[in-house]
């Protein structure tokens, strides 16, 4: 299955007369439960059947008896859940019947294999977006709007201060910065989340500027992306390089947790940058203490969230992790039926700010923790 497969949105199902049936998805201690289909979407405690939107670790947790995800997500999922996990795949746009409902997966544009879950029950359609973005990304299928009655949306960047510039502008900025550093013979280090962000950067930059070095935690995922058919430029591990390698023209992509670790020492005097949507705010950039902040996110910005909601045609919106109260209030003011849907996809219950401002979701925080151990392994190995 090609990562760039374009899927036509499914035509909306006309609403049928109903006398307030039970909601298709309900918050339970185990996760979002679909009683009519007897499965969970991205459950946070072990269940029998889990439909997974994407492989970030707070959405795809270990311990479920059976998983359903897209074929593109399979590689990363296997790497994270172990070879023994039972994972069924469902291609974008194909349907499967589960209990009384029909389930299909549609591109969410977040990371490789990320999906929106469409659930149809007796003419009523719900879509769970998982995490998504509308901006083009060469490493995954583009977000496809899916018409529905109820749209479950994330709200990580649900404030009007978050508005992304076009990827061309942002990656152009990285290229210029890298080229300037290369001209001055100093390595360029970009801190980015190992799964998704790192590969998007790799696939978007001008690889002709210099050699690209990836941290071990990033390289593992590069392999999964290449295996899934996503073209990425050549990358090396530091262990592959000769001892006296000159990093002067190199671009180094490392997870945020590598900052300040012994692994970094080999690059000597270098320029550093952090790639994250949070970098839109100067304070967050300053706090990170890096030279540059590149505003690149795999989540939708404020206009993106509003566009996705509008294009879903939903009359009812349930808001999860991020700026929940803001989104709910704003959507209600525009005349939509909107409510908060409690999930465990983010660490901050209040949704008004984050203790760890630089981690875009709890998923990434966790993957950062995973990476920490990888980083150690690698630094001792080399």
């Amino acid at each position: 299955m090609s990562a760039k497969l374009f899927v036509m949105p499914i035509a909306p199902t006309p609403p049928t007369f109903r006398t307030s049936p039970p909601p298709l998805l309900q918050h339970t201690p185990h996760g979002l439960h679909c009683a009519a289909g007897d499965f969970y979407v991205d459950p946070w405690r072990p269940v029998d059947r889990a439909v997974i939107t994407h492989a970030h670790s707070d959405h795809a947790r270990p311990g479920h008896a059976a998983y359903l995800a897209t074929p593109d997500a399979l590689g990363v999922l296997k790497a994270r859940l172990g070879a023994k996990a039972t994972i069924d795949t469902l291609a974008y746009g194909e349907t499967v019947t589960m209990g009384e409902v029909t389930v299909s997966l549609h591109p969410a544009g977040h990371v490789l294999g990320s999906a929106q879950v469409r659930i149809e029950h007796r003419g009523e359609v719900w879509v769970v977006s998982g995490d998504y973005k509308l901006d083009p990304d060469p490493t995954c299928a583009a977000f496809a709007p899916v018409r529905c009655h109820t749209f479950v949306t994330e709200s990580t960047f649900g404030l009007p201060i978050y508005r992304w510039r076009t990827p061309e502008l942002m990656f152009g900025e990285i290229n210029r910065w890298w080229a300037e550093n290369a001209a001055a013979s100093r390595a360029s280090v970009v801190y980015a989340y190992a799964f998704g962000k790192a590969q998007r950067i790799l696939a978007s930059i001008d690889a002709a500027i210099g050699p690209i070095i990836c941290h071990g935690a990033v390289e593992v995922l590069n392999r999964a992306y290449r295996d899934a058919g996503v073209p990425l430029p050549a990358t090396s591990l530091v262990t592959d390089l000769p001892k006296n390698f000159d990093f002067g023209r190199a671009l180094v992509i490392a997870p945020p947790s590598a900052a300040g670790s012994p692994w970094m020492k080999r690059f000597g005097e270098h320029a550093d940058a952090f790639a994250s949507g949070w970098m839109a705010v100067r304070g967050a950039r300053k706090q990170r203490g890096v030279d540059r902040g590149f505003v690149i996110s795999d989540h939708a910005d404020w206009p993106g969230l509003l566009t996705a909601i509008a294009e879903s045609g939903a009359s009812r919106v349930l808001v999860t992790h991020g700026s929940v109260p803001v989104m709910v209030r704003y959507l209600r003011d525009t005349g939509l039926e909107a409510d908060a849907l409690e999930t465990e996809f983010s660490g901050e219950g209040e949704g008004e700010g984050r203790a760890e401002v630089l981690v875009e979701t709890a998923a990434e925080a966790e993957s950062a923790a995973e990476i920490e151990s990888t980083a150690e392994t690698e630094s001792t190995a080399s």
Partner: protein, 552 residues
């Protein structure tokens, strides 16, 4: 404006002094003198007055962006800076104006203040539609009067020196005083250096190292001259060819701020003195905050001069009648300094204005340590130890033939106290979305029934004692932030009342009685030294302990 915005980005994105100077140099090399003049003006810390009141600015911006007020407020809360919030929420620029910085300032920004509300609204809407990114942010910063950038006057001066070939100290002198940002003034600023010796020119200050080892490691106590370490502003007082100049350590001319020192110095023979500017009343040093007030006021009036008298306490002599004395040994310079200071007869009003810094004499290091323990009583920070045969070096580099460093500062240890986190407020700028500003409390007992008769006499209550927002690592700040969010009892605007549960050790320098905090004390330079995970809130210190610490 575009070039100035690019310069701002370069300065903002780099922490390396070399890069900053290079960016400034590149900018001044290309800039039109009219623009360069404004750039110098803003970069050296001058700001235009707020052109539009914050509340109105907030309303107009929300309107232009099509956002309800509550949503604008939420955005502001996340960003922590009004100018930046506005820059982020406004719709993308329609067209990009290529208007120069000086035109933006003189034809747009400055007239804005004179306009009525409707005209301001129309003007802002039009201006915003022509600006994007950093330019929009800077324009807003200038409107709110909050423009700041991480660059010192010294670096700006250095860049101007690079561009013009004029000596940095000459530029610094030319820039001193009430410099107005015009093209002519800029050209004069970087114009040909006059060939005659610049009589205002100070010497680079010789700086001390902090003493961390025991003092006896310095050898024989008799080889060292000890003086009090004053908590004022280091200054160089210059008299050459009947002209007087007082420079601060930041190489800023501060003559206008301290006219009484200049007046008293008129009687000195030609020469250069190194010393400390202090606020001093009847022989005792006033708190540093008093001196700060004087530093901010050029040409201070009679009242402020009477309320906060200042003195120049001299401790070294660098030049006598045109001759450079810096390579002579300290004891020789000191003898001459003594002679110079006592050669002048001052009037009754000026008697204390120019003084000699006392030498603290002690037969042994142990006795000297006892003297040092008295530092707080004198309003000093400890002792200075200077090798008696040392030359006057440059910066932190000794130029004598001594074995190691020649000047040491031997500070007294700070006071420390354990206190409890009570309130928290979000930081600004870099830490705008974290709770970083804390108010701490200490225990006060209900001795006099001051908490009400319903509480028993032995009951204790936490009362506010000090605010501090520095001393923690970023990681610790995040930890405390999590604690605050989980333990909020109440919110008042930006302030959260936090459930007592975390104990911190605070260090501070001086204690004064004050009504600022409920405890009845105010401390100088409080900072967090560590989080006391090992202590329960009951173990925090009390008002009684502070009272005991206070020097009567």
């Amino acid at each position: 404006m575009k070039d100035f915005a690019a310069l701002f980005d370069a300065l903002d994105q780099s922490t390396a002094t070399g890069d900053k100077v290079a960016a400034l140099t590149a900018y001044f090399r290309e800039a039109d003198p009219a623009d360069a003049a404004w750039a110098v003006y803003f970069l050296t810390g001058n700001r235009p007055k707020q052109a539009v009141p914050s509340k109105r600015l907030h309303q107009i911006a929300a309107e232009v962006a099509g956002l309800p007020d509550w949503l604008f407020a939420d955005c502001y809360d996340q960003v922590g800076d009004l100018a930046e919030t506005i820059a982020l929420i406004l719709p993308p620029a329609k067209s990009r104006a290529s208007i120069s910085l000086s035109v933006w300032v003189t034809e747009r920004l400055l007239p804005l203040r004179q306009l009525d509300e409707a005209a301001q609204r129309a003007a802002l809407t039009a201006y915003w539609s022509e600006l994007a990114g950093t330019e929009r942010f800077l324009f807003n910063k200038l409107i709110t009067g909050g423009f700041r950038v991480g660059v010192s006057t010294l670096l700006v001066v250095r860049a101007l020196a690079n561009v013009s070939g004029v000596d940095a100290k000459v530029i610094s002198h030319r820039l001193a005083g009430d410099w107005q940002p015009t093209a002519q003034n800029f050209s004069a600023l970087v114009g040909e250096a006059s060939s005659t010796f610049d009589v205002s020119q100070p010497y680079p200050f010789f700086l001390a190292h902090a003493l961390s080892d025991a003092p006896y490691t310095l050898g024989n106590v008799h080889d060292w001259q000890a003086e009090w370490k004053w908590d004022g502003i280091r200054g160089q007082l210059i008299k050459r060819q009947e002209q007087l100049f007082l420079w601060s350590r930041g190489e800023e001319l501060v003559s206008a701020q301290f006219p009484e020192i200049i007046a008293a110095a008129a009687r000195l023979p030609d020469g250069v003195l190194d010393g400390e500017i202090l606020a001093m009343r009847e022989g005792s040093v006033m708190p540093f905050t008093a001196l700060q007030k004087r530093l901010g006021r050029k040409n201070p009036g009679k009242k402020i001069q009477a309320d906060t008298p200042v003195a120049f306490v001299a401790y070294d002599l660098l030049e006598v009648a045109g001759e450079d004395w810096r390579q002579r040994p300290l004891h020789e310079r000191r003898t001459k300094l003594h002679e110079v200071v006592y050669s002048i007869v001052l009037g009754a009003d000026e008697r204390h204005v120019i003084q000699l810094s006392d030498i603290v004499r002690a037969p042994s290091w142990a006795t000297l340590a006892l003297a040092r323990d008295q530092s707080r009583k004198n309003g000093t920070e400890g002792l200075m130890l200077k090798r008696r045969d040392s030359a006057y070096g440059v910066g932190r580099t000794a130029t004598g033939k001594g074995l190691g460093n020649d000047w040491w500062k031997w500070k007294v240890d700070p006071f420390t106290i354990d206190c409890v986190l009570m309130y928290a407020q979000r930081g600004h700028g870099k830490r705008a979305n974290l709770y970083t500003d804390y108010t701490f409390g200490i225990w006060k007992s209900n001795k006099d029934g001051q908490f009400g008769s319903e509480m028993p006499e032995n009951a204790r209550q936490l009362v506010t004692f000090a605010k501090a927002y520095s001393g923690l690592t970023d990681e610790e700040i995040r930890e405390v932030d999590v604690f605050i969010r989980k333990n909020t009892l109440e919110k008042f605007g930006p302030v959260r009342t936090v459930k007592a549960g975390m104990v911190f050790e605070l260090a501070f320098e001086g204690i004064q009685r004050s009504n600022r905090h409920k405890s009845g004390f105010a401390v100088r330079f409080p900072r967090i030294t560590r989080i006391r995970y090992d202590k329960k809130i009951e173990d925090a210190d009390s008002v009684e302990l502070i009272a005991a610490m206070m020097v009567p």
